[in-house]
């Protein structure tokens, strides 16, 4: 059975292009259009097969000059794992000082993706 075209909004940059993805009889992608740049193609492919997102959150800091440090997944993780990952991070505590890029939680939920710090936090 032929799948209908899917229209999605690319979130890879603020342009927010509307991208149309068409499929052939076997359900494979036959055409991608509407993207202003090649990043849109990669985004559209992943969005119609296995959508992923960067997760940003924050984690408790022990002995820091701020109570929290902001963090992100170093690369996108499966969209359906977002809530679970936040729960996991809620259990995590790091010791000050923390630097941008420090791994705060390695291989979160076995995705192979590290959660890294996005801010500098000094000691109290």
């Amino acid at each position: 059975m032929k799948i209908d075209d899917k229209t999605i909004t690319c979130i890879a940059c603020p342009n927010g292009c509307e991208i149309t993805v068409s499929f052939d009889e076997n359900g494979n992608i036959s055409n991608i259009s509407g993207n202003k740049c090649k990043n849109g193609i990669a985004y559209a492919q992943s969005e119609v097969t296995a959508p992923t997102r960067i997760l940003t959150s924050s984690v408790l800091v022990e002995n820091g000059d701020f109570p929290l440090v902001s963090v992100k997944t170093a690369s996108p993780i499966p969209k359906e794992l977002m809530r679970e990952a936040v729960k996991q991070l809620a259990k995590c505590v790091v010791k000050a000082p923390v630097h941008v890029g420090d791994v705060v939680c390695g291989n979160i939920l076995n995705t192979g993706v590290d959660v890294v710090s996005t801010a500098n936090v000094g000691t109290k």
Partner: protein, 423 residues
């Protein structure tokens, strides 16, 4: 101002008010253009301004070619300020700026008076509150602006409710809808008075659609319920005149109402400095050098007009820093001045004037429309003569637009530059 102690002035080439992305980028640019004697005054205990609480990603694509989070973007500029050895004074609240560039600040060392050759205003903006949109009902706890909720959750680590309703679909509201959801709060819906969202499309997708949070356009909160703590709100659909339609009222239970109803430039100090403001936006009037109408007082960032993207704040602020350096070294830019006038659906344009003999290769004109337009053109005129016309699939008030005019195009203008929307 009454003052019993004799004032000790600290002389500075350049005093920058605000250590957000605008102030930091302007300082770095001034230093790189030969000015050494600079101080940045920041009231908070950290630099980076609002970026520090914007922990989501989507910053820096234009400047760094990478998708950074707000704190990462801020950290890069803080690093730059350190490397360039620029003085950054934290916990220093500027109370007054005079037209002759005396800057008064309350700092941990007490009251300081700076006497500056040039000043850059970079105070950013503040959020519109419940009072500024005149929300009726009781005054219980649990009604917050979106930026405050963002700061509470992301910086202080405190989640202020369990069931939330969001009023207004600006970017901060959308981003907080996702953040609250991920923090375990039940976000019931986002209500928007207008027939369109003022937020970026990508934020509607990744913050609302991803989490099945409904967005109701043409809706508003007409009453807040609860004595001490908010217990719920009454929402209703509105007609074209934005009046609630009888019979569409609905009670929604919640213990948190988040207001994302817009930002206004923070211009109390600009007024004391005597700088002229734009009545439409509350932002400062500036020329192509980011100079206000007061000689030697420059401005950049959200204090001039509210930006969606920090990258444009940085670009504008680099220009301000360069031009302030030029002013300190060589005095005011002279020469013929051309007015820039918004018309036909364009609400405002920055800059408001340009020098005919601008030393730049080109000047970017930034503006927003007052309404949504599809398949329209942005037209730039000099009197009846069309200078430029650009096709646009969509123009919305939520997204800032830019047109670039080259030095030659500007030189050729005989009257004023008019920028408007055409079918």
């Amino acid at each position: 101002m009454e003052n019993t102690i004799t004032q000790q002035y600290i002389d500075k080439d350049l005093v920058i008010i605000g250590g957000g992305p605008a102030g930091l980028a302007a300082a770095a640019a001034a230093k790189e253009n030969g000015i050494d004697d600079i101080v940045i005054l920041e009231r908070d205990k950290y630099a980076g301004g609002v970026l520090r609480q914007c922990i989501h990603d989507g910053f820096g694509l234009k400047i760094f070619g990478e998708r950074l989070t707000g704190p990462e973007y801020a950290a890069r500029y803080e690093e730059k300020i350190r490397e360039l050895n620029i003085e950054l004074k934290l916990n220093s609240f500027v109370l007054n700026v005079t037209p002759d560039k005396i800057v008064q600040a309350l700092s941990p060392e007490g009251m300081l008076f700076y006497r500056a050759k040039a000043v850059i205003l970079a105070m950013g903006c503040r959020e519109r509150t419940r009072a500024s949109i005149m929300l009726p009902g009781t005054r219980p706890a649990g009604v917050y602006t979106a930026g405050l909720v963002q700061r509470l959750i992301n910086i202080d680590g405190y989640v202020p409710g369990k069931e939330a309703v969001i009023l207004g679909s600006g970017d901060i509201g959308l981003i907080m809808a996702r953040r609250l959801t991920l923090e375990g709060v039940n976000v019931k819906a986002v209500y928007e008075l207008m027939s369109y969202s003022s937020g970026l499309k990508r934020n509607i997708v990744q913050c609302l659609d991803d989490y099945n949070i409904p967005l109701y356009l043409n809706h508003t909160v007409i009453e807040i319920h609860g004595r001490n703590r908010i217990e719920g709100v009454t929402v209703a659909k509105v007609d074209e005149k934005k009046q609630p339609i009888p019979g569409t009222e609905e009670f929604v239970k919640c213990d948190l109402l988040v207001l994302s109803v817009g930002l206004i430039p923070e211009n109390e100090l600009s007024k004391s400095a005597g700088a002229a403001l734009n009545k439409v936006t509350g932002g400062l009037f500036v020329d192509d050098n980011m100079s206000t109408n007061k000689e030697g007082i420059f401005a950049c960032g959200n204090v001039v007009h509210v930006h969606d993207l920090v990258d444009y704040v940085t670009l504008e602020s680099v220009n301000a820093g360069k031009c302030a350096a030029e002013y300190i070294k060589n005095g005011s830019a002279n020469g013929d001045i051309i007015n820039v006038v918004p018309e036909n659906g364009v609400r405002y344009v920055v800059p408001n004037t340009v020098h005919r003999d601008s030393q730049k290769d080109s000047v970017n004109f930034m503006f927003r429309t007052g309404n949504v337009y599809r398949d329209a053109k942005i037209a730039v005129y000099d009197g009846d003569r069309l200078i430029k016309s650009i096709k646009k699939k969509i123009l919305t008030p939520g997204e800032m637009e830019t047109v670039k005019l080259t030095a030659d195009e500007i030189k050729s203008v005989k009257g004023e530059i008019h920028i408007g929307v055409e079918a």
